[in-house]
Assembly symmetry: C2
Homo-oligomer: 435 residues x 2
């Protein structure tokens, strides 16, 4: 981890300065953004548009005329252009699309049709396809023609007469092959592809598991629609990681460091409100035992130790389960094995933590039975925490909810309510021995 | 997210089967691993060794003789070999290194010298360097010679006579350049590099921020030591993401789904024990007010609403702060601005949540002042939660601790202790009005 104060960034790069400028621009007012645009050329502005935040994009598009924007677009990849069109005002986006060349128009409209977080939404349409009937020397000639106009050329995609993808060839293999060989002879027919509807997280998983640096997107007839490059996948991973960390903490994935106070209130309050309802559930459980607490007021001090530890132990299980779900490592058939493991873990950790707690409570309050009931309640709640910590994310995942988002709220509700219930029921049962 | 039950994996690939086999092998016993090794050729075993887990690696190295292992190594990248040597028994690793060719020995020993999680630890030494005095046609000839023996050739690194890196050339640019041009003329002198000691997380951040697909690692004299490819960076990102999710949940980053019960106990218990200490701190705070609670037992039911909501609100702040620290987006000079924002957020959310709580409590218990004190305590604790939720991770980061690991424990201790204290102090103050 680093921040700008400590980072020793070794920069020998003009582009880098532009990227840093793009980040910095989110602090600029409208006037300063306008000035900056006037000082940059179209190629530099293309980099800025790819890197700056949504507010700045909207401002830049507002201050520039359509002709200049189209010129800037000519330096950008199609998928990045689509991203920008999705951010700005719809009327303005349509105007810009209508001004584009017909081929570009069709491509952009198609790309706009896919959801943001699917393979279709993140793919780009700039790549090289070659018919499998060409020879190596013909292919090289074609690559030399296309190369200056496209981004990725290290992998060439080979199609048959029906335009179906039949394999890939690396540029390096073309380079070292015999000039008169047919390209079909050096084509690698083994490849992994995805459908345009595939979730971006699944695409990232495939890329990381199988070390892919480009994944073709094919339609049902196996015709290529686009490619997803590893650079896009890195962006997806950063985005998904941010989502996971924020959602686990009960924060909307859209909240930024520079969201206004009011935006943050609107995003954080609903989550707090849901938590409040669950807090009342726990409070009402305690309320049911008020007559017991009135007789042994020491219960009120130590009861939250049982619920707190249940929450902590359950969160440990939830974390490891949601991470393994995210990495596609959990098989439903293993549920029983995992359930047994969490049961045993709850039993052992519960006995250990319960023993320490019981002994300390005994020494503070001088009552053996108070120590005993907290020992028993701790074991019960930690077993319950482990089992629910496993089952809640599995169930949410099965029901197609994101377990990172909602597991913790269900878990702590369960461990709070049951923790209070275990402990205070035992106290009620042992009441004559406690007073 | 997906698991194997739901994933629609479009596989047309031999390697994929081997990778899946490697994953599956962690469930095999020793005898079955031995059999599997006998059924695979050296190239397939190289893929298995790159993908399987540590236990399987140790078993495979045990059942094969050194000559076969060296042969398998010839299909593997140097950084992957180093990883394996780091896992197996040191004596065996030294034997294997001694049997290697002299050049390989030197490289491997150097790589072994860098820490696992630094640029030096994850870099590979397989890449192509060319002197800047060569012409395009000479370069092409050299690339054709080296290409079959090395992995990454899409970027060629250009050095001067003193072997210092002066720039890079893309294979595509060499391909479309004039044959007799000097390579220096098409060299791109703008590049970002890292030192071998740079933290892997920082490398991943650079790569994602500046869309790099290969980063050279240079020593102090600007001589190349190795490269980090984007595939390595994707692996780093997956690893760091797992670490963050697990550590935020209080789980050791080494815990796996198939860790034994005993391993899991050893990794989870210490964290629970630390939490227990903090739970006692909160309990002792309540104990100090037992005489107040004895007079108004309703306090025991509703006091945990204040602490619970403080923990939730503080966790929201912690999540957004640690994520922005991890992405290098927090500047210390912004601390005051963020502090003001969290103060206001705590005030507004606290007033909202406090009002709802106060009204509900008033209706349940029929006491206006009980509602009033929970309203006031909620505002106080949510402001406190926001401010500490910001300051704790910032401070931990400043002190070079990982804020993802330890922020939550300090935060909930603070919000529990202060939450109980705020609420029960107010109750003590208003006591005559509550009974």
């Amino acid at each position: 981890m680093y921040n700008e104060d400590t980072l020793n960034l070794n920069v020998i790069n003009e582009d880098v300065k532009i990227i840093d400028l793009a980040v910095e621009m989110s602090n600029y007012d409208d006037e300063k953004i306008k000035q900056t645009c006037n000082n940059l050329n179209d190629e530099q502005l293309a980099i800025v548009l790819e890197q700056c935040d949504e507010k700045v994009i909207r401002e830049i598009v507002k201050v520039l005329d359509n002709k200049r924007i189209l010129n800037i677009f000519s330096y950008m990849a199609k998928d990045d252009i689509v991203d920008i069109l999705g951010i700005i005002d719809i009327g303005n986006a349509k105007q810009l699309i209508n001004l584009m060349k017909e081929g570009d128009q069709k491509e952009i409209t198609e790309l706009l049709g896919y959801k943001d977080d699917t393979a279709g939404g993140i793919m780009t349409t700039e790549y090289i396809t070659i018919y499998n009937t060409l020879t190596v020397v013909e292919t090289l000639k074609k690559i030399k023609e296309i190369a200056p106009k496209t981004e990725l050329i290290d992998t060439i995609f080979i199609m048959n007469k029906r335009k179906q993808l039949v394999g890939t060839v690396k540029l390096r293999d073309i380079l070292i092959a015999d000039e008169n060989e047919k390209i079909a002879q050096i084509t690698n027919g083994n490849f992994i592809y995805v459908d345009p509807e595939t979730d971006q997280e699944e695409v990232a998983l495939l890329a990381s598991k199988y070390d892919l640096n480009v994944i073709p997107v094919l339609n049902k007839r196996k015709v290529m629609l686009g490619i997803i490059t590893i650079e896009d996948i890195v962006d997806v991973m950063v985005e998904e990681q941010t989502e996971d960390v924020l959602q686990m903490g009960g924060v909307d994935k859209e909240e930024k460091l520079d969201s206004t106070v009011w935006q943050s209130v609107k995003m954080r309050f609903p989550w707090l409100f849901i938590n409040l309802i669950t807090a009342f559930l726990a409070a009402m459980t305690v309320k049911a035992f008020e007559s017991t607490i009135a007789k042994v007021v020491a219960l009120s001090s130590i009861m939250s130790i049982v619920t707190g530890m249940g929450g902590n132990a359950g969160t440990q299980t939830v974390s490891i389960i949601i991470r393994n779900i995210a990495m596609g490592k959990i098989k439903l058939k293993d549920t029983w094995k995992l359930l047994l493991k969490e049961f045993l873990l709850g039993l052992i950790n519960g006995a250990g933590i319960g023993l320490i707690t019981g002994v300390v409570v005994y020494f503070i309050y001088g009552n053996f039975y108070l120590g005993l009931i907290i020992f028993l309640a701790m074991i019960g709640n930690l077993i319950f925490a482990g089992v629910t910590g496993l089952l809640i994310p599995l169930l949410l995942h099965k029901l197609h909810f994101d377990p990172a988002l909602s597991s913790s709220i269900f878990l702590t509700t369960a461990t709070d309510v049951l923790g209070f219930f275990f402990f205070l029921s035992l106290a009620k049962l042992f009441l004559p021995l406690l007073v």
